[in-house]
Every structure is written in structure tokens, then in C-alpha cells.
């Protein structure tokens, strides 16, 4: 057995969850490998040290009450979604404005670009020159869909962070303008610097 194979098995060895055959193989390796033997000793030591920890009692605090958050119909749950939706509409509107003024929609002139892109309706073709415009529009449609996805992720994350920050303020009863200013700068920086990240719980 190689040391790399032995390493991962050391944890199971200590937990007594290795199969007999694997345990025998590892025993054989440990007999001849001082490095892995030393790792095993450290592992056992660490396990012992964890038992030395003396649990401290939790300090007194006021837990949240049932009914103050389990109800999913409250404004608290609506607010982030509403904010996200409004922000999405606003950004989508700004994004589309130049296209509406600079490039008149081909074919049916009463059909707005926003309607076309967001609902995924078929874009009418009237001339060959329109094909180029449509191609551009389809490209922008793809970009917009990616942007919408990014914004949804980003808004969810920001809502989460804002909620956390507000909770932090309330929990600590922050006093003084300096601390509030710091918090404002923090939220502002997060908003400006934010990049798509894995959606948080």
C-alpha cells in the first residue's frame, strides 16, 4: 500500500470503520512506514485533545419566538422578492431603451423589443435587411437572458446580505454615526463590487 492510499484510510482506521481486509493491509503498511505511523499518532492525539475541551455554558440571550418568522405570508418574505422584481424591471428597461430609439423594430412596428425578448415571441421577418437586425436582436436577447439570470442571482445574494447586515445592526444595537457609516460603506461596496457567486442558503 502506498502512503497516499494509507492517508485516507487512517481516518476510517481510527473510527473502526475499515473492513477487516483493509485494516490488515493498513496494519502491514504501518509496520513499515514511520511517516504514516506518526500521522496516526497525531490523529489519535487530536481526537484526545478534542475530548479535553471543557464545554462552556451558553450565555443568556433572547431567542426569536415562534410565529415571528415561520409564517411565509409576511411582508418580510415579500419585500426581497418585490425589490428584486422592481430592480429587474428597471434594469431591463434601461438596457432596452437605446435599442428602441436607435433601431426601429422591423416588421410589426407596434411590437416592442421588450415584449419580443422577454416573452420569446417569434420576431417577424419582412426584408433581407431585417435579417441582420434580427440577428443582432437575437444576440441581444441572449445577452439579456444571461443578464437577467445574473441579476436574479445577484439580487438574491444582496438581499441575503442586506438582511444579515440589518440583523447585525439590530442584534448589536449599534450606536454612533461612525458605525452606521461603516455599515453603509460595507453594503455599498458589496453592491458595487459584487460578482456572481454561488447562491447562498
Amino acid at each position: 500500500m502506498r502512503c497516499e492510499d494509507a492517508r485516507f484510510r487512517l481516518f476510517d482506521y481510527v473510527d473502526h470503520t475499515l473492513a477487516d481486509r483493509e485494516r490488515a493491509d493498513l496494519d502491514e503498511h504501518l509496520d513499515t512506514c514511520s511517516s504514516c505511523r506518526s500521522d496516526l499518532e497525531s490523529l489519535s492525539d487530536l481526537s484526545l485533545q478534542a475530548k479535553v475541551w471543557h464545554d462552556l455554558p451558553a450565555p443568556r440571550w433572547q431567542p426569536p419566538r415562534v410565529g415571528s418568522g415561520f409564517d411565509s405570508s409576511g411582508l418580510q418574505q415579500w419585500f426581497p422578492s418585490l425589490a428584486s422584481a422592481l430592480a429587474l424591471i428597471l434594469v431591463a428597461g434601461l438596457y432596452l431603451q437605446p435599442a428602441q430609439t436607435g433601431l426601429p423594430a422591423p416588421g410589426n412596428s407596434s411590437q416592442t423589443m421588450a415584449g419580443t425578448q422577454l416573452t420569446g415571441n417569434t420576431i417577424p421577418v419582412s426584408t433581407s435587411a431585417d435579417a441582420l437586425l434580427i440577428s443582432n436582436r437575437l444576440e441581444r436577447q441572449r445577452e439579456l437572458q444571461a443578464l437577467v439570470q445574473l441579476l436574479r442571482t445577484e439580487m438574491d445574494r444582496r438581499n441575503e446580505e442586506t438582511e444579515e447586515s440589518l440583523r447585525y445592526v439590530i442584534a448589536h444595537q449599534l450606536q454612533g454615526q461612525q458605525e452606521i457609516d461603516d455599515l453603509y460603506q460595507y453594503i455599498r461596496k458589496v453592491s458595487l463590487d459584487a460578482t456572481p457567486v454561488q447562491e447562498q442558503m
Binding site: R7, F8, F11, S38, D39, S42, L43, D45, L46, S47, L48, Q49, A50, V52, W53, H54, D55, L56, P57, A58, P59, W61, P63, P64, R65, V66, G67, S68, G69, F70, S72, E164, R167, Y168, A171, H172, D182, Y186, Q200, M201
Partner: protein, 182 residues
């Protein structure tokens, strides 16, 4: 005469509106979560803040708990997330205080409020580890979760959890503070 109600039963009763069940659930876990927080963040004030954040997270996410796993594993999944977020936020706030990295360095006196010499030494050693490794050490040796549980809680593979634990082991091996705790 009567055994304690299982977690899942308390969760169900809490979701049905029982404050008593919810408080029992908190009482059952607050000490464990507080000590977890103490080891992860290194000082009692921040540990208390983090404990509260964990239970706020549990409170908010409880309706989504499906009851198909061990409640403790679910709770510590939230705790791991809150802890990572807490430490990230603390690092950000520390930048206002002209400091880089964690506000509490392993050698600062804040750790001396740890009640026992062993606690203090263990905390110093753990704070010397990167957060990712500290998480795995905590969940494996102090919370006694399996690697599969740890992997689920941290969103990594069991082998990554083992790799992190092994790296932590190598680092702790030569840690004098930890030897003193024994």
C-alpha cells in the same frame, strides 16, 4: 420515566406554533452551538453573536427542514454557512480598523477568557488553521459527524473533507499550544 422528545417531533411542534417546543430545541443545542462558535471564532463576544445568527438562520429555514435527515447535521450545515459568512464579514470590518485578516489573531489576549487552559490552547491552535480546515476539524472531532455528513454540510466531496483534515493534521502536528493542552 419519560424520554426526551426527538428533534423531529420538536421541530414539527414548533412549526405548528409551539413556543415551548421551539425553546426546547434551542436549549438542546445552544450550548453545543455556542462552543462550536467559540472554537471557530475565538472569543466569547463573537461566539455569542454567531450563536444567535445560527439560531436566527435555523428559525428562518425551519419550514424548509424536511425531516429526512438528522436534525443536528442540518443545523450544523446552517452553522457552517453562518460561520463562514461571519468570519468573512469580520474580516471586512477589520479592514476599517487598519488590520488584515481575522480580527483575533491566535496570540491575542481575547482568548484568555476561555475558562480553562486547555480550551485556550485548543482555540489558539485551531485559529491558526485556515477556516476551511478549521471547519472540518470541528465537525469531525468535536461534533463527531461522518465524512459524508461533513461533505454535505460544507458542499464538498468526502475526499476533499479528508484532504482538508489531513492538511490540518499536518499543521497541528507541530503545534506546541496543542501539545500543552494535553
Amino acid at each position: 420515566m419519560f424520554g426526551e422528545a426527538p428533534d423531529n417531533k420538536l421541530v414539527a411542534r414548533a412549526l405548528a406554533g409551539s413556543n415551548s417546543a421551539w425553546n426546547k430545541l434551542i436549549k438542546r443545542y445552544e450550548r453545543r452551538v455556542y462552543n462550536y462558535a467559540l472554537r471557530m471564532v475565538g472569543n466569547p463576544d463573537d461566539a455569542q453573536d454567531m450563536m444567535q445568527e445560527v439560531f436566527m438562520g435555523v428559525h428562518r429555514n425551519l419550514p424548509g427542514y424536511r425531516g429526512d435527515g438528522v436534525f443536528a447535521a442540518w443545523l450544523f450545515r446552517i452553522a457552517a454557512f453562518r460561520c463562514t459568512d461571519f468570519l468573512r464579514r469580520r474580516r471586512f470590518h477589520s479592514s476599517f480598523d487598519e488590520a488584515d485578516g481575522d480580527r483575533i489573531s491566535p496570540n491575542e489576549p481575547a482568548l484568555e477568557a476561555m475558562a480553562t487552559h486547555a480550551n485556550e490552547q485548543i482555540s489558539r491552535a485551531l485559529l491558526d488553521l485556515p477556516v476551511e480546515q478549521r471547519h472540518v476539524v470541528e465537525l469531525k472531532f468535536f461534533q463527531h459527524f461522518t465524512f459524508e455528513d461533513i461533505a454535505n454540510q460544507l458542499g464538498i466531496s468526502p475526499n476533499t473533507a479528508k484532504t482538508r483534515l489531513y492538511a490540518a493534521l499536518k499543521k497541528l502536528k507541530s503545534h506546541e499550544e496543542l501539545r500543552d493542552a494535553m
